[in-house]
């Protein structure tokens, strides 16, 4: 059943899907990629943000994207706090942060899951907005508008973050702290403050990403487990801490997934994506655009 038309459509939809993957992973690219925090609760934070967006949309009829924007300051503060706790318990005491950090964040993720269940119940939730459920026609070809929205927002988010990290003073400081903490300390800056701020940014971004998550598909309390693999896969494949790499890796995964879903046996899609990750790791361990 091969047809050029189908393949082309699959690529277009794959790019859109990939940009969405980039949006949900880009925070992790900062927190895990740059700051070396084994943040397995990242997807749990993401789902929490989706529920925040849902609550605002449901009770005040606020557009999900605006709602996402509205919760970013809260998530920024939440990120500052989370990093503080992590720093005080692990980094300051020195060794062994890796393994125990993972366990710590798993614990946090479980707690978040249960809190969501207690507050919202176990049923899946979704939001309503004018652009959900409609499509943009291009001759015979139709693209869901929610995907276009996700694409545009994700792209803007990633580019903004990349520019922020490379052009602003604070952004450069974050990059510097990732590369050589000691040197920064010698220059009189406080690396912990910078890292805390960076973690805040990484968490704030989740407000928007969470909005996209619930725009693209309904959410349920344990959805985070499905995104642990996906987000870490994107970030590692990208090369740790590379924002542009995150976008590229996410698009590659999105396109691969979409092509497999359309053209080949759909049930093989997850194996293909993750086999690509293993392939990249084997050939180029530092990732596509690794430092």
């Amino acid at each position: 059943m091969f047809s050029m038309d189908l393949l082309l459509g699959a690529v277009v939809l794959g790019v859109l899907l990939g940009c969405f993957y980039a949006a949900v992973s880009v925070g992790l690219s900062v927190s895990f990629g740059l700051l070396d925090v084994p943040h397995v609760a990242h997807p749990a934070f993401l789902v929490l943000a989706s529920y925040g967006v849902y609550q605002l949309n449901e009770s005040y009829d606020i557009d999900p994207l605006l709602a996402g924007l509205a919760i970013t300051p809260l998530f920024f503060l939440f990120g500052l706090l989370a990093y503080r706790v992590y720093y005080e318990t692990f980094e300051r005491r020195g060794s062994d942060a890796g393994v125990r950090g993972i366990a710590f964040f798993f614990g946090i993720a479980f707690i978040i899951e249960v809190l969501i269940i207690l507050q919202f119940g176990v049923d899946q939730r979704s939001v309503s907005a004018t652009y959900i459920g409609k499509s943009w026609r291009f001759g015979e070809f139709r693209i869901p508008i929610r995907q276009l929205v996700a694409f545009a927002v994700a792209l803007a988010l990633t580019v903004l973050l990349a520019v922020y990290l490379s052009k602003t003073f604070m952004g450069r400081a974050i990059r510097a702290v990732a590369q050589d903490e000691e040197a920064l300390r010698l220059m009189g800056a406080n690396p912990v403050r910078i890292k805390q701020f960076a973690f805040g940014i990484a968490t704030a971004v989740l407000g928007i990403a969470g909005a996209l998550l619930i725009i693209v598909a309904p959410v349920e309390p344990t959805l985070d487990r499905a995104y642990i693999g996906r987000t870490f896969c994107v970030v590692v494949m990208a090369g740790l801490g590379s924002i542009s790499g995150t976008l590229i890796a996410a698009i590659i995964l999105g396109v691969a997934e979409s092509i497999v879903l359309t053209m080949f046996g759909a049930s093989w899609a997850p194996a293909i994506s993750f086999a690509m990750l293993l392939g990249v790791l084997a050939v180029r361990p530092q990732g596509l655009l690794g430092r």
Binding site: G98, F106, I111, V114, P285
Partner: protein
């Protein structure tokens, strides 16, 4: 000399434990303790096996569920194809788990620890997808199995599985203990503390990691193999459940990873708490308790239970991120 005495004490303890388990299967008539005990013993085996690579070498395996599921489905496939007995199922699962450990290790153990962790997540998803598409073992629809008749001296299959799982747990502990006290263990510990330095001083780091990964993989798969007969049912989403990965990691860390007794204590504590909660509170609060326990232990007892019990381990247990 001291070491020798320890050894005698250990093997005596093992013998007493196994005799106790065996006589329990002969005396106790109520079957519930065997069902619950099987699960706890399974977690002991998993946590100890995980900790050979994750604890001694500091390489975090996220893919415990991959190895566990491979064990389950090796048993299912073999049983369906040939009707092989339980012992053969377990042995085959161990061999396949070892090969898998070898392959994964070769591919990713050259990299920093965290890449290995991510690779094991990917591995779990890839293998689960394969099993879902493998119609012979039921695919995504799952498969129901009929247990063969039970063998003497046991009067019920669950009691036999309980004893078998006790053997597997003891095997895992004995191997972990051997490694800990051998050159392998010291090498692993050296590479955990500082891999580069270890390599410079002539420790064959890659070879050691590979060996640890293979042994750990073999033990996890072996511990998973009897699950097919325990449940008399297998489906990919249960066999490759992420909770095996999280539990193994959590139990090892809560117990402490510097000594083989740590994962054992962690598994007993967490495993029995979970079993208890399952039949008491029995709601989402169950998950909450696991989360809070994890956070509390990781924050409050960095070296786990053994760190609380015997402060001298605090000196020995170092690690790298």
């Amino acid at each position: 000399m001291n070491k020798h005495r320890h050894s005698i004490a250990f093997w005596a303890g093992v013998a007493i434990f196994l005799v106790a388990v065996l006589s329990m299967t002969q005396i106790v008539r109520n079957e519930y303790p065997f069902f619950a005990g099987y699960v706890i013993l399974q977690f002991i085996a998993l946590a100890v096996a995980w900790s050979i690579l994750g604890g001694y070498a500091g390489y975090v395996n996220f893919g415990t569920n991959a190895f566990f599921g491979v064990g389950v489905y090796t048993a299912v496939g073999l049983f369906k194809a040939t009707g092989a007995p339980l012992v053969v199922q377990i042995a085959a699962a161990a061999v396949i788990g070892m090969l898998l450990g070898f392959a994964v290790g070769l591919l990713t153990l050259r990299m920093r620890g965290i890449f290995f962790s991510i690779a094991t997540i990917a591995l779990a998803i890839i293998i689960e997808t394969f099993v879902m598409n493998w119609r012979f073992v039921g695919g995504a629809a799952g498969i129901q199995l009929q247990r063969p008749p039970v063998m003497a001296p046991f009067d019920s299959y669950v009691k036999m599985l309980f004893f078998v799982q006790a053997l597997l747990a003891v095997t895992a502990v004995a191997i972990a203990r051997y490694i800990q006290n051998s050159r392998i263990g010291r090498g692993l510990q050296a590479l955990r503390d500082d891999e580069l330095a270890a390599e410079c001083t002539g420790v064959p780091t890659l070879k050691l990691k590979l060996v640890a990964c293979m042994i750990s993989g073999a033990l996890i798969s072996a511990a998973g193999a009897p699950a097919a007969m325990y449940l008399q049912y297998a489906d990919p989403s249960s066999a490759f459940n992420l909770s095996y990965s999280v539990s193994a990691l959590a139990m090892a860390l809560i117990g402490g990873t510097a000594h083989w007794i740590g994962p054992v204590l962690g598994a007993i504590l967490l495993g029995s708490t979970q079993q208890l909660l399952a039949v008491t509170i029995s709601s989402e609060v169950n998950v909450l308790v696991l989360g809070i326990m994890l956070v509390l232990f990781v924050v409050g007892a960095p070296k786990g239970i053994i760190g609380l019990l015997r402060p001298r381990y605090r000196l020995r247990a170092g690690g790298k991120p």
